[in-house]
Structure formats: structure tokens, C-alpha cells
């Protein structure tokens, strides 16, 4: 019944479909761009970060700090294949060069995957030190240090009453690390037990936890967080990118969706004209037993068909539009911004297509409600009198 009406008004129906599907296509295209950028950014992080690594630090509750004690470390061991606690302290040389010294175990090297470029690793129970590549550079410039040299440093400790006590120590430079592009470049490494002794610590400043597969990371993380400790991993960055890109995509989609309002207004307009043209037909229908609901159903079913066709057409045009953005936008981004190695700038998934389809359907039905209601409320006597 509804199909017949749409078929008799072919041109009009086609124009409405065009209006709706362009709106849907704009939303689908823009959303696919947002989705593409998001996936590319997440890919980028996954390439440069180890998602199997979780960095644990002391927990912060409202009142106090949850310290990483030996028993906490034992509890954490349950969650990772490699669990490497470490301490972290600031030292200063005689030339006032500050540097961060991490007291680590061999497990830590496994977890972080750091490699020597020159020299050897420290021996346990000694004050031998391995420098990250940036610190190495600093030390060779300022201190004139070389592998095998001793370097004097001082650590400031705070006693019971908050009184500062300085402690002097001589490290032996024994190796340097290959540049990693991470914060390890700015750190120096010594034996964990020596570091604890120097800083007079019986707790740890952090734990590196490595799981076998990145899919195990969320569960491990949840378990560690249940111990009231704080966790950080590359997943945090991915999460924040997802949050930002979802927001951006939503806003872009919303503004490109404004064209859908035009489509909706077109439907309202056409349906009102259609109600006017079919006044007599509505009067006849009422006289032969159509209820108000029947009349509303009659008009809304036309809108549903328009919504379904508009959704399908809009998705198809949207895919084409997305392909066009990909084709035109990718070379532009690569030449202008120097971003390379992007396989696809846009990405279409089932969610986007379903959303596009649903938007078309919802707009069409919403736009049809008022005209349908007007038709249902027509006075049959007046409607039948109209020629």
C-alpha cells in the first residue's frame, strides 16, 4: 500500500531519498575518517609501546600512600610472568648534574628489554653503574666521563625529623645503553640492593610487570589495582586517544548530520503536501472503516520505507564518500604533514553503517509523525467534500 504511493510519486520520492542519503553519507564519511584516524593512532602506539608491560607505582588513597612492600611484591608476582621491583632516587654530581638512579634486578632488564651498547652490566653487590644514552652524553660532556671512570655523587636523605642528611658515594661507570627513545635514556642503573642500602629504603618505588600476551594485561592490571596500587600502561594512552577521537568524531558527525535536518524538513514538507493531496482519500478511508491509527500507520509506513531506502542508499554513498576522502586525503596528509605509512585514512565498520541506517530510519519516522497525525485528525465530512 505504502509502496504504491511512493511509486506513483517517483520523482518526489527520489528527491527525498537523495536528501536523506546525502545526509547519511556525510555522517558515514566523516565518522569513517574519525575512525580511521583513531585506528591509525592506536596502531602507532601499539607499534612503539609494549602493551604487555604494566608499570606499578605506590597507590594513593584519600588518606595515605600505599607503599610497595615486600609482601605487595609477592602478591603482584601472581599477575605477571616477569615481576621486577625497582627503586628510584635522584643523585647529584659535584658539578651539580642531577641524574636519576634506578636500582634494578636482572628481571627488570628482561621486562623493559634494554640493551647494552658498550661495556658490561653491573655486578651485584658493587657500586658499578650503567648509564642511559642521554645521561652518558651529558656525563661525557660535563664530567669528561668514560667507561671505567669513577664518578662522585651525593644523595640527600631526610631523617626522622625531616632533617636533611647528605651521603656521598662513588659509582663506577661500567656500561652504557643503546638509545631506546624512552625514559630509560635519561636513567642510570645500579644493583637494586645497593640502591636500597644507599637510600636507606625498605620499600620499592615501583614494579615492572610483564605479562605474556597483551590480552592478559587488563586482567593483570585489574588484579594489581585490587591491591590498592596504581598502574600505568600504554593502554592508558590508547584509552585517552579513544576518548578524544570518539569525542571529535561525535562532534564532526553531529555537524555533518545537520544536513540530515534538511532531509527531515523535506520529508515533513512532502508529507504535508501529500496529506493535502490525499485529503479526499483519507476521508474515504475513514468512511469505510479506517481508524485514526490505520491512517497514521498508512503515512508512517511510507516514512519507514523512505527511511530504509534512504539508509541503504546513504550507507552506499557514504562508503563511496569515505573512499574518496581516503583517496584524496591520504596523499595530501603524506605530503603536507609528512605522515607516512598510513594504509587507510578512513575506516568503515559495521557500527558506522548500522548507525547511518538507524539515523535515516529515525529521522524519517520522526518527520512523518506530525503529517500523519494531521491526516488522522481530518474531519471526514470536510475531507469527502473536497474535490
Amino acid at each position: 500500500m505504502a509502496l504504491r504511493q511512493l511509486r506513483t510519486k517517483k520523482v518526489r520520492t527520489l528527491l527525498i531519498l537523495l536528501g536523506i542519503s546525502i545526509g547519511v553519507a556525510a555522517v558515514v564519511g566523516v565518522t569513517s575518517l574519525g575512525e580511521g584516524i583513531r585506528v591509525n593512532a592506536v596502531d602507532e602506539i601499539q607499534k612503539s609501546h609494549d602493551l604487555t608491560l604494566i608499570e606499578v607505582s605506590p597507590g594513593l588513597s584519600s588518606e595515605n600512600i600505599i607503599l610497595i612492600t615486600e609482601s605487595k611484591v609477592r602478591a603482584v608476582r601472581e599477575y605477571g610472568s616477569v615481576v621486577a621491583p625497582f627503586v628510584k632516587d635522584a643523585y647529584v654530581t659535584q658539578n651539580k648534574t642531577y641524574f636519576e638512579v634506578n636500582g634494578i634486578s636482572t628481571e627488570y632488564m628482561d621486562a623493559k628489554d634494554i640493551k647494552l651498547e658498550a661495556g658490561v652490566w653491573f655486578e651485584e653487590g658493587t657500586y658499578q653503574i650503567v648509564l642511559g644514552s642521554d645521561i652518558w652524553e651529558k656525563f661525557t660532556k660535563i664530567e669528561g666521563a668514560e667507561i671505567g671512570n669513577a664518578i662522585d655523587a651525593r644523595i640527600r636523605l631526610y631523617g626522622e625529623e625531616g632533617r636533611a642528611v647528605d651521603k656521598d658515594i662513588t659509582f663506577m661507570i661500567i656500561g652504557r645503553l643503546a638509545p631506546t627513545g624512552t625514559q630509560a635514556d635519561d636513567q642510570a642503573f645500579i644493583d637494586i640492593n645497593m640502591a636500597k642500602k644507599l637510600a636507606e629504603k625498605d620499600v620499592y618505588d615501583g614494579i615492572m610487570v610483564k605479562v605474556d600476551k597483551s590480552s592478559q594485561a587488563p586482567a593483570a592490571r585489574a588484579g594489581i589495582e585490587r591491591l590498592d596500587l596504581t598502574c600505568f600502561s600504554a593502554q592508558d594512552e590508547i584509552d585517552s586517544i579513544n576518548r578524544i577521537m570518539n569525542g571529535v568524531t561525535l562532534i564532526l558527525g553531529f555537524f555533518s548530520g545537520i544536513s540530515l535536518i534538511v532531509g527531515g524538513v523535506m520529508i515533513i514538507n512532502t508529507m504535508i503536501v501529500s496529506v493535502y493531496e490525499r485529503t479526499r482519500e483519507i476521508g474515504i478511508a475513514k468512511s469505510i472503516g479506517a481508524s485514526e491509527l490505520d491512517i497514521i500507520r498508512m503515512f508512517l509506513s511510507e516514512c519507514i520505507i523512505i527511511g530504509i531506502l534512504g539508509g541503504i542508499l546513504g550507507d552506499m554513498v557514504g562508503i563511496a564518500f569515505s573512499f574518496l576522502i581516503d583517496r584524496v586525503g591520504k596523499p595530501l596528509l603524506i605530503t603536507q604533514l609528512g605522515i607516512g605509512e598510513i594504509e587507510h585514512l578512513t575506516l568503515i565498520n559495521m557500527d558506522i553503517l548500522i548507525a547511518g541506517f538507524m539515523i535515516s530510519l529515525i529521522i524519517s519516522v520522526l518527520s512523518g509523525i506530525y503529517p500523519a497525525w494531521r491526516a488522522a485528525k481530518l474531519d471526514p465530512v470536510k475531507a469527502l467534500r473536497q474535490l
Binding site: 504504491r4 506513483t8 476521508g283 478511508a285 469505510i288 472503516g289 481508524s291 465530512v381
Partner: protein, 224 residues
């Protein structure tokens, strides 16, 4: 047993200017089951208004209408819809067929609203068209039919849901007298053979002469 009864039925229209126009004034009318009643009167006398109110397309200002001895509650849309679907059929002066539907579809349309299964309504529509002599015109659009043929389709449509009452508003008003004669004969036949009650407004003397009873309305009142 009364098919239709009106008690002190009045209808007046209030215009924006404050003028009140009385279309029906205290109309008391009874139509027996199986009766063929013709209502005559000059244009504007209120006969169409009476038909519309009895046909539940319009509401009275005062008074009551009983159909099958049941009082009509004009405030209850569902009740009126049921009457349209099951008890009464309409025939109009201007045929009022749906122009985008062919004859067959026009006839099954009331059954569609009455939730008759698809196959059954097609079968009945075909049978009805055959009974009004339009079997070979079933797939024609109204614009492809003559006035007499269109009115016969309209009669077939009015019969779709086995009504007990048919209300016809000047059914021969738009067709020539020879074809009009055929329409009158068809209506009479339905009245005689199936016992359907007819209330017909008309200017046509032939129609009036064929009626069991003629009622004349002038200025909204029954004259005799």
C-alpha cells in the same frame, strides 16, 4: 425492529462571526430493518447532514441516534470505526473511489481495514464485482471507467463487509438517467434479496418512486 432511530436530533454550526446556522432541528426519524427510505428536499435542507450523522461521519449537537437499537456514542472513536467496518456502507454522489487503485482494490479496501485475510478479501471482491456486472473491469482504474461503472464499483465496495445498512448520498446525481435507472434497480435488488436497509438522499423522482417511503426535509425539519 428499527434499524435506525433518531431522537430529537439537532445539528447547528456556529460561525466565527457569531452566526448560528441550524442544519437539523429536532429530527425524529425511524427506519425499519429492511426498509428502503428515500429522503428528498432542496439543497441545503439538511438531508446530507442527517445522512452524515447517521453514518457517524459527523456528530450531532443534540439528540441521539440508535442503530440496531444501540445508542451511538459519538465520543468513542473505536465504536464509530466498528460501525463503519461492520454495520454500514456508503455510496456517494461523486463515487469517491480511490484514483490510484483499480476497481478490485477499491472493493477490497474496506475489508483490509476490517482485517479480512488477504485471500478471502480478494475472493469476495471478485465475487462482488461480478455481481454488479464488472468482472471484466476489475483491473481498471476509476479514470478508465464510466460514471455508471464507477458507481457500481462503489456499490460493490459498500457491500464488502456485509453491511446491514447502506447510506447513499444522491447516488444517481452524477450519472445520466438511463444509467441511473440501472443503479436504482441494483440497489432495489440488494434491498429485496439481501434485506439490506437503504437510506438514500435524492432529487431523482424515479428513485423516490421506488422507495418504500419518502421523507421530505426542509430547513432541517421533517415535513411529512
Amino acid at each position: 425492529m428499527w434499524m435506525v432511530e433518531t431522537r430529537a436530533l439537532s445539528k447547528s454550526y456556529l460561525f466565527g462571526s457569531g452566526n448560528q446556522v441550524v442544519a437539523l432541528n429536532d429530527v425524529n426519524l425511524t427506519v425499519a430493518n429492511g426498509e428502503f427510505v428515500s429522503i428528498m428536499g432542496p439543497s441545503g435542507s439538511g438531508k446530507s447532514t442527517l445522512l452524515n450523522i447517521v453514518g457517524c461521519l459527523d456528530k450531532p449537537t443534540a439528540g441521539n441516534v440508535y442503530i440496531n437499537e444501540t445508542k451511538i456514542d459519538y465520543g468513542k472513536a473505536g465504536h464509530l470505526v466498528q460501525l463503519h467496518r461492520q454495520t454500514m456502507g456508503f455510496i456517494f454522489q461523486g463515487f469517491n473511489l480511490i484514483s490510484t487503485m483499480n476497481a478490485l482494490e477499491n472493493v477490497w479496501y474496506p475489508m483490509y481495514f476490517n482485517r479480512v485475510p488477504k485471500l478471502e478479501r480478494k475472493k469476495r471482491a471478485e465475487a462482488l464485482l461480478e455481481s454488479v456486472g464488472l468482472k471484466d473491469r476489475a483491473l481498471h482504474l476509476p479514470s478508465e471507467l464510466s460514471g455508471g461503472e464507477q458507481q457500481r464499483v462503489a456499490i460493490a465496495r459498500a457491500l464488502a463487509n456485509h453491511p446491514r445498512l447502506i447510506l447513499a448520498d444522491e447516488p444517481t446525481g452524477n450519472i445520466d438517467s438511463r444509467t441511473g435507472r440501472m443503479i436504482i434497480d441494483l440497489m432495489k435488488k440488494l434491498n429485496k434479496e439481501q434485506g439490506i436497509t437503504f437510506i438514500v438522499t435524492t432529487h431523482d423522482m424515479v428513485m423516490a418512486n421506488n422507495a418504500d417511503r419518502v421523507i421530505t426535509i426542509t430547513d432541517g425539519e421533517i415535513v411529512d
